[in-house]
């Protein structure tokens, strides 16, 4: 028999957001510069299992990944049964900053994927002086709606199955099968309407194209890493955003899709470790 216990630990934080106490689950590993990781729409922090277990990263970074309220092991707030869940720019930004303050993180690096990549732009605009650096994975400033998200939450279609079905092509065809299916499993487990509610921010409310030109990367460095097989935030979308942000660094990740840290952790590690090394150097000077 083989068995081992990971160095990752998980705890619950009780955090007041919008006047309601939320029970928020987070995992962490390592020590050093705080690195807060934001999962994609309709998934949870398990997407960062590879990074949390990457000794070359945790040697210098305290990697922290939390499940947003309604996601993973974080509960929805009291009264959820009477609410249609919808993520907004304000809600998302406040949640991230409240989480960082509650853990008393000193100028954390924030890395988010997809919706997490989108919110990175807003963090750069509104909270650059409180953050060490920002990393947007699969970060576009906007995506036009190319499918009807109401299919994701209706009683005659299984929510978990259809969420996985909708995103399955966002995983690169080159992703190792175990990681592809683990990534889809997280989508299959999301609560009713949660993925759709996150997409309200991603496809409707969170269009940030008009504002990104004001991002000042001299206050807070910004890195944009995008997988070549992503069609939701394609390399062209990332390059288009970066072209309007002086100093933004772009890395196109070959063979990766929309969920780089989850669909192919080893390959993603090869791309993100040099970025993290560079950030560590910049922060030390």
């Amino acid at each position: 028999m083989t068995a081992h216990i990971e160095a990752v630990t998980g705890r619950y934080l009780h955090l007041e957001l919008e006047g309601l106490v939320n029970r928020i689950y987070f995992e962490e590993a390592g020590q050093g510069i705080p690195l807060v990781c934001l999962h994609t729409a309709g998934s949870d922090a398990r997407q960062f299992r590879g990074l949390l277990n990457d000794a070359a990263v945790t040697e210098n970074y305290r990697v922290i990944a939390f499940d947003m309220p309604w996601h993973g092991k974080s509960s929805p707030p009291v009264g959820w049964e009477r609410e249609e869940y919808q993520l907004t720019t304000k809600r998302y930004t406040n949640m991230i900053m409240a989480f960082c303050r509650a853990l008393a993180l000193d100028r954390p690096v924030v890395m988010g994927c997809s919706i997490g990549g989108r919110i990175v732009y807003n963090l750069a605009l509104e909270h650059a002086d409180e953050l060490g650096a920002l990393i947007g994975l699969q970060a576009g400033a906007y995506v036009e709606r190319y499918y009807d998200s109401s299919w994701l939450h209706r009683p005659d279609v299984h929510g978990g199955e259809v969420c996985a079905g909708v995103v399955s092509g966002l995983v690169s065809p080159l992703a190792p099968e175990p990681h592809r299916w683990e990534t889809l499993w997280h989508y299959m487990q999301s609560g009713p309407g949660v993925f759709k509610g996150d997409l309200h921010f991603y496809q409707v409310e969170g269009d940030i194209r008009d504002r990104i030109g004001a991002i000042d990367t001299s206050t807070c460095p910004l890195y944009l890493l995008t997988g070549e097989y992503d069609y939701s935030c394609s390399p062209e979308d990332t390059r288009a955003a970066a072209a309007r942000i002086p100093g933004a660094e772009v890395v196109i990740m070959e063979g990766l899709g929309h969920f780089p840290m989850s669909e192919n952790p080893d390959r993603f590690g090869e791309y993100v470790r040099p970025v993290l090394d560079e950030i560590r150097e910049r922060l030390s000077t």
Binding site: Y147, D156, V162, G165, L170, D230, Y231, S234
Partner: protein, 122 residues
């Protein structure tokens, strides 16, 4: 390509199980050529090639020959590897009653991508 769907899909026990509750006929249009794929409980019953006279189908997936050729490559290029990728770029049309498609999306996606495995079968 599509004529041989049966041998690939029906031999894949896990795929047939995924489609256990899918019994329907849908159309794939490759350029000007229409194919009707009839499926019963996850197994391909028949693949008919048009033109058709008064045949019914539930939903259709239409694209040009060039798009499908890239889609069916063993390693399709980015943007051609999934029907939703094709949708984002406006390279495909999904029409008809879409509920059976959306309720069985992982299954149907795997069925229409099955010709990618043909080289290995041949």
């Amino acid at each position: 390509m599509l004529e041989r769907l049966g041998e690939i899909v029906n031999g894949d026990e896990a795929l047939v199980r995924r489609g256990k509750y899918f019994s329907d006929t849908f159309m794939i249009e490759v350029g000007e050529t229409q194919y009707l794929i009839e499926i019963r409980q996850g197994r391909i019953e028949s693949v008919a090639t048009g033109p058709f006279v008064m045949r019914s189908w539930t939903f259709s997936i239409r694209a040009t020959e060039d798009v499908w050729r890239k889609f069916w490559e063993k390693l399709p290029p980015p943007g051609y590897h999934d029907i939703f990728a094709l949708l984002r770029k406006g390279r495909i049309a999904l029409d008809g009653e879409l509920q059976p498609l959306m309720a069985n999306l992982l299954y149907v996606k795997e069925v229409i991508a099955a010709p990618r495995k043909l080289e290995a079968v041949a």
